[in-house]
Subunit: 355 residues, 2 copies
């Protein structure tokens, strides 16, 4: 791997459907959701370190700066950027791109969210290596995950023509929003669609130039902050709240400027507890993430997260989800895991300290 | 009501199937299971006070003496008897009978467990009043509860001939152990059977004389303790561990000495959480015993006891049972409520502090 690949890790997102584990004050990426002993943020850094060495930029909210720094003690504190306020992924990744553009015009950045899981990191890194090669030709490269089921919770990419210079890499033909179930089933059958995991590999200047095509003021503002970091606090609040997909990837895709490296490495964004249960794999039965000795089960299947200080007994329930924390307890089923957001919405009104 | 009716309240029993609320150190009778604001022990005393005034003898374990006294501050401490060790109901009620026999030969005692619920206390007291009248004729009187469903968790009494001196009162023809489901259904159809709630009304001397018929040493030992209370610690461990039903009621029944006052006053012994859910009545939906504000539900029915310090969210589960305490959490369904005892049995081996 060349020594100018930089890993940009936006560490944000609330993970509302993972309440009561994920909270505004301690969101998903700060947690060890899968029981590996490393938080999702740490696992993301672990996964990229063989490619990036110490060339990381982690972009997080001011509120999480201390927790992120504590979880990544080996990282130079200057490599952890604090957003004054949440402005969505374009601002976060764009700020990192603008800083890298000044630091090393030959750099290639790869942006990878801090709250995804990958079960085959070798295969993941092989994809990223290929994506870096393609990105040097000024493509905006995204990694398109091979669908393993007709997911309705992810956006999709459609593969177009293969790149002649890069066999096995394709032009992105279209970006598709989260589909209906029948549409997702069609996507799976045609084999032309890949999950959009929001992983982008690109030269910083190429990314900012693409942004400048659609949002010239936005690109100029980001470059301005990089030139004059003292301007951050003043300029940041004026930046648009927009995802990188909408700000750059979709317009660039329409212009034929996005390449897709297909990948298959056990990826999931663990959007809810059903997704977590599936990602854990293993035999049926009651899966426990945490201290197994705390959980007693009779005829039960599903998922238990014993993050409180209690012994938990589960009897005669299938596909149950039990998440026990110090101040809140969730009991649902994998099929209703999406509805957790409704509980959180209710608590935000009445009991915001619990959200 | 005559002024020599004494209420004898055995306050014992573990309530294992009500774990994790009921514990060895804080058994069922010390809890407000139904959310009335009074514990089962307090409710038992409240229910009997209009008949007994301050003529109570509460018999409990040494380990619970302090808690029982604290819950019954209006009761003369001398009226709370501590058993040196658990010897089952014959010893507990027999000790009270022996003390009352010496105190007032004309007394009638009524023994009522501290951990049952009665939803119609007026009807209950009317039955007890009638039972006291019958007991004066030297019957061992028991109250036979009209079955409302084919219960397999209770023993049954079969009604024999009506007493000529007491219309509406019957000789007990037979005692039946907890029946199989088909047998219980037959019992319900014939209308000759009543639930044996273990409520006995009797003259102390009559009770001890009946005991002397089958267990002369036992009766003599109890009378010996009453004559010489200092002997309690020495004699108590030698007493047989036997329930009053087996020691006295069944032999007396076989001898035609037991009378049954039929009753119907919303009785339940709340043996498990399914029984508690049924006893709470009210509309379907998620019943909460405790602070309703702590529980958030979407599409859920069943029972939640929020005895911990947490907010509890329940989504998409029917007939669920959730019991949250400071150190243990139970999640099951009303149909599996009996299996709680298996969890407790397992914990007794590995984690006795939780049982």
């Amino acid at each position: 791997m060349s020594d100018n690949f930089w890993a940009v890790v936006p560490a944000g997102g609330a993970g509302t459907r993972l309440w009561p584990l994920s909270r505004a004050a301690a969101p998903k990426f700060l947690h060890d959701l899968t029981g590996t002993g490393r938080t999702m943020l740490q696992a993301t850094v672990d996964r990229l370190a063989p490619l990036a060495g110490d060339r990381f930029l982690v972009v997080t909210g001011q509120a999480h700066l201390e927790a992120v720094s504590a979880q990544l003690p080996e990282l130079d504190p200057a490599r952890i950027l604090a957003e004054p306020s949440p402005r969505d992924s374009m601002a976060a990744i764009g700020l990192a791109a603008a800083m890298l553009e000044r630091r090393d015009p030959q750099a290639v950045l790869g942006a990878f969210a801090a709250d995804h899981v990958v079960t085959d990191p070798d295969a993941f890194r092989a994809c990223v290596r290929l994506a870096v090669e393609v990105a040097r030709d000024d493509w905006l490269v995204t990694i398109g995950i091979e669908p393993t089921y007709p997911a309705t919770g992810f956006g999709y990419l459609r593969l177009g023509d293969e790149l002649s210079a890069h066999p096995g890499v394709y032009v992105a033909d279209a970006f598709k929003e989260k589909p209906a179930a029948e549409v997702a089933a069609d996507y799976l059958v045609t084999a032309r669609y890949r999950w959009n995991a929001g992983m982008f590999v690109v030269r910083p200047a190429a990314l900012l130039d693409l942004l400048a095509d659609s949002h010239p003021d936005f690109a100029a503002a980001l470059r301005g902050i990089a030139a004059e970091p003292a301007m951050l606090a003043e300029v940041w609040p004026t930046l648009p709240r927009i995802a990188i997909d909408h700000a750059v990837a979709e317009p660039a895709g329409a212009a034929g400027r996005v390449a897709v490296v297909p990948g298959s490495f056990g990826w999931d964004d663990i959007g809810d507890f059903a997704s977590l249960a599936a990602a854990l794999g293993g035999p049926d039965g009651l899966k426990v993430v945490g201290d197994h000795a705390r959980v007693r089960a009779i005829d039960a299947t599903g998922l238990v997260l014993p993050h409180g200080d209690r012994t938990i007994a589960v009897i005669g329930l299938d596909d149950v989800v039990v998440v026990d924390t110090g101040d809140a307890l969730l009991i649902t089923t994998t099929t209703r895991a999406q509805d957790v957001k409704a509980i959180v919405a209710g608590l935000r009104e009445s009991d915001p300290g619990l959200t």
